[in-house]
Symmetry: C3
Subunit: 497 residues, 3 copies
């Protein structure tokens, strides 16, 4: 009597699978081109090809996928080319798509192949998702970093202290594997090269910024984003995308500790303890029936219904459509920017920041209170499938308070930092490359962000206190204060003489 | 020949389940009240209701649960109300229990319902566990923090640097989501409010400190503790409580890195690598047969037997009954306090600390050497089911040594800190809100604690050395020393003039 | 149609197992001695004995194991003693092996037993692995630490600040549970003692440095290494050894953050999300068929083939045979040392370091460019089973760049540090026990290492930037610079007077 109905249900489906197993294993329609690809590549890259075999792309044609009831669909559009509709999605279907739009297209055994499958290629069958993703800040992560003059200073202080000392590393290579690992690189074609292969000499394009699967990758075809960031290698498993480990690739560091907070939250605990019983592949994803605790995807991306199929949340790849605030990467938390192209924002001093150094938001670039409410409502509708309205209301009230108090802490620190700059004790030319400047930076970039994430994700506890939270935030303040006092004293003595 | 007997056993039980599956799925006796609850709440909160359906509470009546052989029981008492004995434990059974003792009781569709199910409510069927938990420090975690005048200073320095600067955040909201997220909030009723619901306007109580599931929550009915801290939402799964992810919610930060140490210990490695084969729901929990490496619950809470049913360790919810030392949250490790109400302890200077600043323990508040031995014996009986007596003896000897050496490090740092205070280079008024004070605090609150946990949990290695361990502890000492020397020099020069 | 062939395959094997289950459960040939061991030890240590029952050692005789086709073998040699060939590997077979070579051999119920099973004992059936492991740096981890005069200073500064202050802890006990927990202790016999047991008084040897399972343990029989480090307790599960949790025991701290980097890499994400579908016990380990993303063991140790059985990589227990560079534990990354006995290396100043303080490598102790290429080729052959040659080439180019740029950062910091020493602002007698010295040390020991691991393991992102990466590395540089400036100013003023 101890096992749940769910277990019985699983047992049944298990047996069913066994009985019809051989039927399922029957061959799917491959294009002759893909068959040819596999002929060689299965030998030299068995891992890659098996990954594709494990995935859904190898098992269903776009046509069959599109025939499903809309709410059960995993694709939102059909290829216009009828030939593509009737074969499964194999090597050739993606790596030869839109060949003429790809500067990285090259001749390969008689076919025109490109290495970098772009978000535009994926849009062939996933038009809606690609469209939404274009409005996502993540799609613009490359420009938002490298075209922001303030962040350029930060980058310079982090990966090129060289200019001040004696290091002359190759900046592009460093950039590609550090900041741009997550933000996405700019992939361009720099000619062709000949490489020895198991099948003799072959010519391949030389790509700068490659390999990379960053979220805002600039693809050779001019499109933005790398779908494989979250749908990786080559099984494109929805089960992987829905697990928090995917998000943790970029959201674990002290600047964006979302995964860390999640993992010690009640949500994370239940997922880690009970997640093996969850159905992580169902579309739509039925709250309660398929899972009883959310992963990142639940609240930020997935199409959710109740057991009867009533929609609780629409699928979205514009994740900020449920986010009222911009919490991270900035000195002050502010209402979410209207545009995903953050580098175009200007504060009143003309800097590409969402607020002035005194915390006043660059309001004309930010969403209104009404839009904030709409986004909160969308998010809260999900919360309410497990929690009471009183619970949810109070949770969001706490977040508002945390935004206010962390902003206040940034302001306290910024006032001290401003004095240090005014008195010439540090050089504001680059705001990130001296001891006191880093005290100031870590306070908001790490500790205030961590505190806000702990609050926003109900992971509370240590990430808001002792684990890169308020303790460390206030510590930076005390150190900054002490630094200023000491150096003022020094300066005074120097003057007296 | 590669699979174990265990696997065969699982295969068998799997088939058995399949065969009797439909029988299991038959309806359990629900109270009519609970049926009514579910009628609405399954629609608006499918996640919450499914979680309950997945749990044991929905599948067995207290009467049936109590009829089991004592060693297999998961309840320790029966409801005195006979009506409650014969229905499964549904919404109404808990949320309407002891209605008149709950200030948060409110009229809800003709029933008297309360939001906050308290440890006293749970004690209806789990009297023994609730009783033990009352002697657990965790039950008193609220008072132990907010009624301790020393910790009040720490809190003030961490969440209210405001007074010194310009931040005037809402302290209660901050407290509730930071320190009290783990320690537990004080939940009180502040009147009623009307909220719009899917079923029209309804009145609900307004609760301060809500939501919260901290271990020492002060419930509206005056009881202490929130059982859902470790038995969460609403399946109350023993499988969840026994997994280290539950404990990690509060025991992961640098102040109590128990989960971190566990996860890189041999125990943690085996659990993560082989835990999927463990039986995490069996009662009693049979060492060897059900699992071959301990989780937190194994050593600190669960009823353990060997395969023949001989008891190795009794179930306890007073976790310190196997703990000889108080390792954490204090400058010096000392024998475990007698009382769980730590805030009542006084050192010789009258401060609510378990030792003087020079390390002398407040012995009259602490357990004797004999009681320490009794507790160690209880713990070691568990260790000995996998390890030899020589192994265990030496392990505990190392812990004693670590306690001594970390206490010595605290003393070294405290001597420097005392000079800084004596010379007026920092203000002892609040011992936590200046740069050198934080150097001193981090040394014992983070680094010595981490070192002790690494030692106590045989996780050794990096948490005792480079990962917030001895390296960082000694570093704080060197920095503190350097700080003192520099400021003495400065002061001397100032005097000379 | 959603489940893969693999699932069907699993279903089939599951049913097969069920049908032949009872057959499998038949008794294996135990030696009479082992039967006697189990008689008592199953009662007093059920966890330990069940762990052995779960493992392969309890299920197959060396003879049967050796009869397998070579590529499927898990042993590389047979015991010369024919009696050992025909019984499964039980308690007695290991704990009484080579009795006369074990100073820890003691009389135990009429048998000559030793506690510490050594790598030499394991070599009876695993000769090749033990041989390779002897060339592994890990086998020499004890001497490489305690016989290196530079590291002796570091140890002294970390675990014995005593001399400078007032702490007089027991160094050996501290060493055993801190540095030597991973590096391995020196286990020696210090006489015998009588202990009370459930079966009356018994005599056992007293062992120093025990318990320990560090990789470079000095066993009483003079052999090096503890196989149980990675093949733990007593199931010796290959499934455990192949999971990253095993490596994380020692490779998680800030000095060697391999597990941390892995866990946020694409590889780690796929393992965590999809690893439950991997076959982690197959020998040989077939890329694609058995797994689609690597764990640590895949790239560094395991015998890998494609589905047809063509060998991609030979099994090795000399892990550096695929490593071109020594990245960790040293100020400068250099070509891998020739010898695993690192403490014998001398730089031009006669110090036991792989490079001078200005970064010039101690080349005569290091492998050549040609050998580096051979090692890279071996590693890349594995990469190429999932990635294209362009991908792999560029990845290794980035690593070269990172080595260069992190070395440059060390050099910048070392120049400042040298000035501090020259000017007498810190005492070079011990290079690790003053504030500025720790700034310098953390820069290379933690932050440069982390940056290199992020690069080497394609985990990129935050461990190369904000999570103990370049941000923290440059921060140390700025702090060191600021420290020097301040103290020069102080010194000048002192002089003027």
């Amino acid at each position: 009597m101890e096992k749940s109905d769910r277990f019985v249900r699983y047992s049944l489906s298990f047996l069913l699978f066994f009985l019809v197993g051989f039927g399922l294993a029957q061959k799917m329609p491959l294009s002759s081109e893909t068959e040819e690809c596999i002929g060689c590549h299965e030998v030299i890259q068995p891992g890659l090809v098996q990954s594709w075999r494990d995935g859904r792309h190898s098992k269903i044609t776009p046509q069959a996928a599109f025939k499903k009831e809309k709410i059960k669909r995993r694709i939102s559009s059909q290829p216009t080319n009828p030939a593509l509709q009737k074969v499964v999605v194999g090597c050739y279907e993606c790596h030869a798509l839109n060949a003429d739009q790809h500067p990285d297209t090259f001749e390969h055994n008689g076919y025109k192949i490109h290495t970098v499958v772009s978000s535009k290629d994926c849009a062939t069958c996933h038009a809606e998702e690609a469209g939404q993703y274009g409005h996502n800040i993540m799609a613009h992560a490359y420009g938002n970093l490298v075209d922001n003059t303030v962040y350029q200073q930060l980058i310079k202080s982090v990966i090129r202290p060289a200019s001040q000392t004696d290091h002359a590393g190759s900046d592009f290579l460093t950039m590609d594997e550090s900041c741009l690992y997550c933000h996405g690189t700019k992939v361009t074609v720099k000619g062709m090269e000949t490489r020895d292969t198991e099948f003799g000499e072959m010519k391949f394009p030389v790509l700068t910024g490659w390999p990379n699967q960053g979220v805002g990758r600039l693809n050779p075809d001019g499109s933005l984003g790398s779908c494989t960031s979250c749908h990786p290698r080559h099984d494109f498993s929805i089960e992987t995308a829905r697990q928090p480990y995917t998000c943790s690739e970029c959201h674990k560091g002290p600047d964006v500790p979302a995964y860390k907070v999640y993992s010690v939250s009640k949500h994370g605990n239940i997922f880690k303890s009970q997640g093996k019983k969850f159905n992580l592949t169902a579309v739509p994803w039925k709250i309660g029936q398929d899972f009883t605790a959310p992963t990142c995807a639940t609240c930020h991306a997935s199409l959710l219904t109740d057991s009867e199929g009533n929609v609780i949340a629409e699928r979205t790849h514009q994740f900020n459509d449920r986010l009222a605030w911009r919490l991270l990467g900035v000195p002050y938390a502010v209402p979410h920017p209207r545009t995903p192209e953050l580098y175009k924002i200007r504060n009143s001093a003309g800097l590409p920041l969402t607020a002035d150094l005194d915390g006043s938001p660059a309001s004309k670039f930010l969403i209104t209170k009404e839009e904030q409410k709409r986004r909160n409502d969308r998010m809260q509708k999900i919360c309410l499938t497990c929690h009471s309205s009183g619970w949810v209301k109070r949770h969001f009230k706490r977040l508002d308070n945390t935004i206010q108090s962390t902003n206040a802490l940034t302001l306290s620190a910024t006032k001290i930092m401003s004095k240090i700059w005014e008195k010439g004790l540090a050089d504001q030319g680059n705001m990130f490359d001296e001891e006191p400047e880093r005290l100031w930076t870590s306070l908001w970039l790490f500790y205030n962000n961590s505190t806000r994430f702990a609050s926003a994700m109900a992971g509370g506890g240590d990430y808001g206190v002792f684990a890169n939270g308020r303790y460390q935030g206030t510590e930076q303040l005390f150190r900054l204060k002490s630094w200023l006092e000491l150096h003022i004293q020094m300066a005074k003595k120097a003057q007296k003489k």
